[in-house]
Structures are given as C-alpha cells and as structure tokens.
C-alpha cells in the first residue's frame, strides 16, 4: 500500500446498486414510518371527537384532485423516458405537466381547506377530527410542496440547458420521491375519505 498515484476510478463496482436509489429508498422508509404514526393517530381518533363537525358532514371526495396527482406519476415517467431518448422538448413538456398537475393538487387542497375553515367552521382546534385531518393531510401536502420545489429546480435547470440525457438516472431518483408522495396520497385518500367518512 505505497503512495502510488490515486486511481480516480469510480468507487462503485458494477454489481453494486446505485447509491442514489438506495439513499432515496432509505429516506422513503423513514418517511413511511412518520406517515404510519399519523395514519394510526387518525384511525385511533376516528369518531372520538366530543363535538362536531364530523367527517360525514363536511368531507367531499376530492376526485379531480386525486386524479391529477396520480396521473402526475405517469407524466413524470413519460418525461424520464423522453429524457433517456434525448428528446428535450418532450421532456420539458411532460416535466412541466407534472408540475402543473402537482400544483393543481395543492391549489385544490387549499380550496378544500378554505371551504372547511370558513364555511364549515372546522379548524385544527375544533375537535379531534380537525386535529388529525389537518395534520395528516397537511403533512402530505407539505411533502407535495417539497416535491414541487425540487421538480421546479430541475425544470429551471433544464430550461437553462443543464439537464441532459446523462442525467436521466439522477432525475429518476427524484421521481422515486414523487411516486412515493403519490402512493402516500392513495393511503391518505383511503383512510380519510373512504374508511373515515
């Protein structure tokens, strides 16, 4: 082990998995644990509120919202496929569509909250339903927001011409996070709007 010239080859041998993917999956595992606790709290307090309003009285199914968010998982896949093929225009288009769909979801959530707060009088302080509803849906919305910021950064970099074919694998790692946020919504939707209503 003499002080020979430092071989600046990749430290990863071919058989080892991509570190970005492993790191992102680890983060997803940790996030899942956090969401699990909020979901458990929601289910535990279901129907335990001492006063109204109840979920049956005020919640409406956010169908369009959900369709938008779930389909953004498809558009980001198309975007990555386009990036892998070197089709810059298609990539930009699909990527921007993903942001638009995610953005619509956030706005939709905002509209729903406005209605609940101002028309139905449900705040986080009102009862246990308000407490668990706003914290679970809010935690998810916060994750959507973080995802949107990261997607937006990539979009700006892409518009500046800095995102190329060779960055596909990295963009894919970001897409893992986005898919996770979508998958969590399916859980939240089921718990809050199907089981809890």
């Amino acid at each position: 082990m003499s002080t020979a010239t430092i071989a600046l080859t990749s430290e990863q041998s071919a058989s080892n998995p991509n570190r970005g993917r492993v790191g992102m999956f680890s983060l997803i595992a940790a996030e899942s644990a956090i969401f699990t606790i909020f979901v458990v709290a929601y289910l535990f307090y279901l129907g335990q509120s001492l006063s109204g309003p109840t979920p049956q009285q005020v919640l409406r199914l956010p169908i369009l919202n959900s369709v938008c968010l779930i389909s953004s998982s498809l558009t980001i896949m198309f975007a990555l496929r386009a990036l892998g093929n070197g089709a810059r225009g298609a990539f930009l288009l699909w990527w921007a569509a993903t942001i638009a769909l995610g953005g619509y979801f956030l706005i939709g959530t905002g509209i729903e909250w406005k209605r609940l707060i101002y028309s139905e009088g449900l705040t986080i302080q009102t009862n246990l339903f308000g407490t668990t509803f706003y914290s679970l849906v809010g935690l998810h919305a916060f994750h959507v927001l973080v995802g949107l910021v990261m997607l937006l950064i990539v979009l700006l970099l892409a518009l500046a011409g800095a995102v190329k074919k060779e960055h596909t694998a990295r963009a894919e790692i970001l897409s893992l996070y986005w898919h996770f946020v979508d998958a969590i919504w399916i859980v939240v939707f089921t718990v809050v709007y199907v089981i809890g209503r």
């Binding site: 570190r19 680890s26 940790a30 302080q125």
Partner: protein
Amino acid sequence: MNTSYTPSSIAGVLDTPTRKEGGKTIFEHLHEWATTVDHKKLGIMYIVYGLIFFLVGGVEASLMRLQLARPDNHFIGPQLFNQLFTMHGTTMVFLVGMPIIFGFANYLVPLMIGARDLAFPRLNSFGFWLSVMGGLILYFSIIGGMGMTGAGSMPDVGWFAYAPLTGKAFSRGNSTDYWTIGVLVGGFGSIATAINILTTIVCLRCEGMTLMKMPLFVWLSLVVSGMVLLAIGPLTAAQIMLLLDRYLGAHFFDTQAGGSAVLWQHFFWIFGHPEVYILIIPGFAIASEIIPVFSRKAIFGYPVMVGATVAIAFVSFGVWAHHMFTVGMTSIGNTFFVISTMLVGVPTGIKLFNWIATMWGGKIRLATPMLFCIAFLFQFLIAGLTGIMLAVAPFDWQLSDSYFVVAHFHFVLVGSLLFTIFAGIYYWFPKVTGRMLSEKLGKWHFWLFFIGFHVTFDTMHVPGLLGMPRRIYTYEASRGWGTLNLICTLGVAIQAVGILCFVANILWSLRSGKRAGRDPWDAWTLEWGTTSPPPEFNFSKSPVVKSRRPLWDIKHPSDPDWKYE
C-alpha cells in the same frame, strides 16, 4: 497534512499573524474542521461532541446522587431535581449515546469496507451539524426557557415527557418546546446519518467483500441504520403532534378534548424501545471486533451472530408496551408484550454464548480494551436477567418506576454500552491518532470505573426492591433507604475518579503516547491495513478481499482464511 488548503476566498479575514512556520493558524484549523466532509474528521467530531456532553450529563447525575445521599436533604430543590433528571436522560440518550455510536460508524465503516468515504459526504456533514444544533437548542433552554411567560428554565418533564404533563396548562414557558425541538432536530440528523451509513454499506464495499464477508461491526452498523430509519420516524411524528398541540391548539394529547395521554406513551415507546437496541447493538459491534482480536481467534459462529442481530432488531419493534404494563392494558396485550420481550432474550443469549465461545481456548490478552469487553459480557448478562424479570408483567407492576428499573437500564446503558464505548476508544485510538493510550492509566481507569459502577448500580437494585420510587428528590429517614443511597453516591465518586483517569489518559497520550504504527494489536480487519492516522483517501488503491479477515490472509499467506470459509 499533505494538503495545502487555504480559505483564500475570504481574503484578509483569516490572515492572522499567529501562523507558525509551515503550519496552519488556529482559524484555518477551525475552518477546516467546520467545513470538512471527511468521514474521519466527522467521526472524531461526533465522538468528541458525545464525550463533552457525557461529562455534562455525568455532572447532572452526580448532583442528583449528592442530593439523594442522605434522607431529608435540601441541597437541591424539587424543581431543579426534575430538571436535572430530564436533562440527564435526554443528554445521555440523544447527545451522548447517539453521537458516539454514529461517530464510531462514521469513522470505521468506510475503512472496514475499503471505501474512500461515506456515500454522501456532504449529507454526512449536514447530519452532524443538525445533531449539534439539536444539542445546542436543548441546552439553550437554560437561558432561553424563561421565555415570555417567565416560567421554568430547563425542561422538567422527564426524558419521555408523558402527556398531559407536556400540555400548555402544565408546562408553561418555553422549556418543553426547547426539549421537543432539540430532540426533533437531532432526530433529523440521525435519519440523515443512518441513510448515509446504510447506503455506504450497500453500495461502496470493495471488491470481494460480499455481505457475509463484512466485519461484524459493519453488519451491526447496517442493522442499526435500518432500525434508526424506522424508529426515529415515530418519535418525529409524536414531536410534531406535540408541537401542534402546544402551538396551534391541536388536541392529540389533550385529554379534555377526548385526546389520549396513553397514545403518547405508545408513540414514544415505539421509538423508545428500538432505541435501546439502536444504542446497545453498536456496543455488540465493538465487542465483536475486540473479543476475537484479543482472544487470537476468529469470531465464533459468524452467521449466527448476524442472524441473531437481525432477529433482535426485528423483535425489538414488537416489545414497546412492556414499558407500559402499569397503564392497564388488556390481558391479551400484556401477554403479547411479555412473550415478545422474553423472546428477545433468545438471540441475545446466543450472542453472549458466541462471545464466550470465541474466548474459549483462545490466547487471551488482558489489555485495556479486552478488560472493558469482559466486564461488558458479565454486566450485560445481569442487565439481561433483570430485563427478563421486568418483562414479567406482575413483577413489573410491583417494581415499575422504582430504582430497580433505574438500576436495570443503567446496567444496559452504562454497564454494557459505555463499557464497550470505552473498549472501542482504547482499541481504535491508536488508529485515529497514531498514538497508543497509556495502558497503566487505562488499567486505573478500568478498575476504578468498574468498582465504582458496581458499588453504585448493584446497590441501587435494593432500594428499588424496598419500594423507593425513581424521580423523587428526597425521602424520609424512617424509610431506611439512607445507607443504601449513600453507598450509591460513594460509587459515583469512584466512577468520577475513573473518568478523570480517562480524560488524563487522552490528553497525555495525544502528546506523549507511544507511536502506534499501522497495526498495534495485530488485528485482521481492513482499517489496520492503512497508516495511523489514515490518509484522507484511506486507501491509495481500493483493496481486494477474499475472506472475513483480509489482514490475516496477508500475514499468513500459507494458511489464509479463504481456504476454510
């Protein structure tokens, strides 16, 4: 010091006249350490950070022991006593245990798997500084906890902060918020570091190092990282809920609005019990490296050791409510948690037998690291046995929240974890600094600390059995606990002298310790193959390994391990 790095981008600011010939100024050193992304420097900083808080937490414990030394004592009032046990517990778990175990993993994992650094060096720095931030936020409560309302200073809700004590009505002022936010921020740092260590082990192993050829330290670090990922989340979630309760008027743990105080206990212990194993498995990891080297034998039953660790990790997520037997669960719930808790004893027992079997027939060298490891085996056995006793629900109903429980978990965290941490420091200090720690001072340290530990914590079981509850600031003379408590406190004094020997040893050896060379212990894992201290890039060429003991293969080319594995 082969780099010629100067922070020239801030011209003039760091130009100080104290520059030594050929050396760096103190500001350049500080700048280098504050901005480093090197896993070795971050590892050292983690451990130093942990050891500093260890002294702080130790002083807090000593103050409590002084207060309890005799009945009807008024050296410390009840308010300060509550603050001291809260800060002592929180400090020792979050600011001592976690940083030190992460420090060891940070420093050693890349070296042991033949990598140049962790997978995400900047994330590593981020995680470390978040942990520091968490500690500073917690201790800022001493001056900041008064807040606007003028109530309290340090948090005084206990380290598991049961609801509804943490509600606005009962914890006025901001001290509880400093506790919540400090722990929350430190938790984010832990998650970041766990992601990093896990990814490193999965992705950056050198050629030939299959999973089953990794040193046990690396295996156990992998398991611990996975546990941190799953266990810190519940704590984070519960802390967010508590913050929502305190700041936005939510009702998660507000019993008056139908919320449940018991739910906090569940959430806290879903984190809290795996946390115990997160802390002790790195202790196992250190012992699994040291015991073979000082017994001159390969570890006994390597695959079983791996399997037992994974089994402990798995079962540890299903035992949390054994902290809650006195809450009043259903008999089915009680039975489940009694059985699952006892189940942990099986893989743990297997590990103990394997360490003993490793020593069996070996040529044992009683150097300081090995002394600490042998004491660990013995003390961990006792910790495990009292653990099995407390797992029996009716027994726990009698002794929950008594000094028997305190003695039990100090056998785990001091008698087992801290002893292995000391063993690890004596073992790897030569690698990190290039100098040996003094064996003479080391033996003084060991024997004083060992005797002090047993005087304090063996004795502490007895007042617990006699009914002395934990967390009381004083007791009447007629209870008859005075002599026992005095003995406990005397033991602390002996431990403190031992710790002084340790500090003196570190300071003396850093300057004047014997030069270590690459491999002072004639060990077998990769970190001993590079220089002491290792160069920034660890290995000039990525190593290739063929067995679990690559250095044995190099030293014994005629009889390499890979022929038998």
